[in-house]
Symmetry: C2
Subunit: 253 residues, 2 copies
């Protein structure tokens, strides 16, 4: 048996999310069908972060096993990219790893990027790839307020009600807001880094920081919302369009 580790890039737009679902096409299904097509085997593919519908990835990590032991990582990458061709899913990197590597359980860090297009005109080129906020956002106020959330907290306020995690306690290692000039105009880039996140945590934090950017909330309001430990005290969930799973970190063995 050989275990393969993949780095997967995808446009979340056409998918119901990473996970296989009966309601539509998941990225997992695309990858699993491509594996079957080239190898004749049907292993399950495990990923580091089960992204929601519409959420993108540059650095999703996944793993799967093949019983036959004669396929190089390069062959796997080429074969998968060939068979997934009609879909916006691409294997950016593939390598053979030890059998004790697990894409989800071995991960020690996840990094997300959230892109807000902050200009009066709606997006044309980046449609589906950014959250469009036409009103001017105060990015410095957002960054300052974001620091309230950094550290170990009970994140119940920013946790989807359907979240299945055992505990709402998480340690947020980094949450930064920067304004950047891109090809398509002014964007805010929100970077969130932690060992792991609760369901919708990044989108709920971004939706709440947006209230700070609009001048409707202060840092103190954000602190009070966090302290309330109540989803109803938080801001709205941002749309998935601007969210990217950028990188998954693993301890060196």
């Amino acid at each position: 048996m050989v275990r393969y580790r993949l780095q997967v890039e995808y446009d979340g737009g056409p998918f119901v999310g990473w996970q296989r679902q009966e309601t539509g096409l998941g990225v997992q299904q695309i990858v699993e069908e491509a594996i079957l097509a080239f190898s004749g085997e049907s292993p399950r593919v495990f990923c580091a972060g089960r992204t929601d519908a519409g959420v993108h990835a540059c650095g999703q990590v996944a793993h799967f096993d093949l019983q036959r032991a004669d396929v190089s990582a390069k062959t796997v990458q080429g074969a998968l990219n060939h068979h997934m061709k009609p879909h916006p899913v691409s294997i950016v990197h593939a390598e053979i790893v030890d059998e004790d590597f697990h894409a989800r359980f071995s991960a020690t860090e996840r990094e997300y990027l959230f892109r807000i297009l902050n200009r009066p005109a709606r997006p044309a080129l980046e449609r589906g790839h950014v959250w469009w906020v036409p009103q001017p956002l105060d990015d410095r106020a957002m960054h300052d307020a974001a620091q309230v959330l950094v550290g170990k907290h009970d994140f119940t306020t920013f946790r989807a009600t359907m979240c299945q995690a055992k505990s709402p306690l998480k340690t947020l290692d980094e949450l930064t807001v920067t304004r950047v000039g891109t090809q398509a105009g002014e964007e805010l880039h929100i970077k969130a880094r932690a060992r792991s996140f609760l369901h919708h945590q990044v989108r709920n934090m971004v939706g709440t920081l947006n209230l700070v950017g609009l001048g409707k909330w202060t840092s103190a309001d954000l602190q009070a919302a966090l302290d309330a430990k109540d989803r109803a005290a938080g801001g709205p969930t941002s749309p998935p369009d601007g969210l990217y799973l950028m990188r998954v970190g693993y301890d060196k063995i």
Copy 2:
């Protein structure tokens, strides 16, 4: 009569190009139909650079006239963006200008960006927005060779055979090749700036520079191709996917 100047962003993917055509939808038609929808008038819209099918724009400039004189530039922008909503076309800026302003004939400079995704894996997130070249490209050799093309030359070698320009003489002010790390990986950015370009000139130059990047051509080969003044002596036309009209310059009046 009031003349409006627009800055237009669009994803060229779904369109036959800027110009109205019977074979499909042009960006011009989208804008003209939106003007009719909100004003009841049917002016012709003139643009600075008639981009081909699949070519994108961040900074296309266009102008049109309205007979009624009571519509602010901000209202025009909002109304057009509303009526064009299903299409990836957006008015990024609108202003009222003098009647002697002409988007095409007043322009003194055009700047294009060409994006090459240079990695083994095909694009997922940037599909349709970059030209994918999987083989490693020597960006420094491409940049050095590109300098052969800068200046005033007979660009017949890089001119589409159907080009309608009176003269093949053009002055290329800038042609740079830079490798940049982007969200989606390694890209080559080729910037081309001139008063005006011949039909397919940028794509033909890029397709030829690609031969240099692959090590198949030298700077001397590029010089010989330019000197031949023969389209057959040049490299292939690159696909449109990576090309963006970034900016149009006008003299201050």
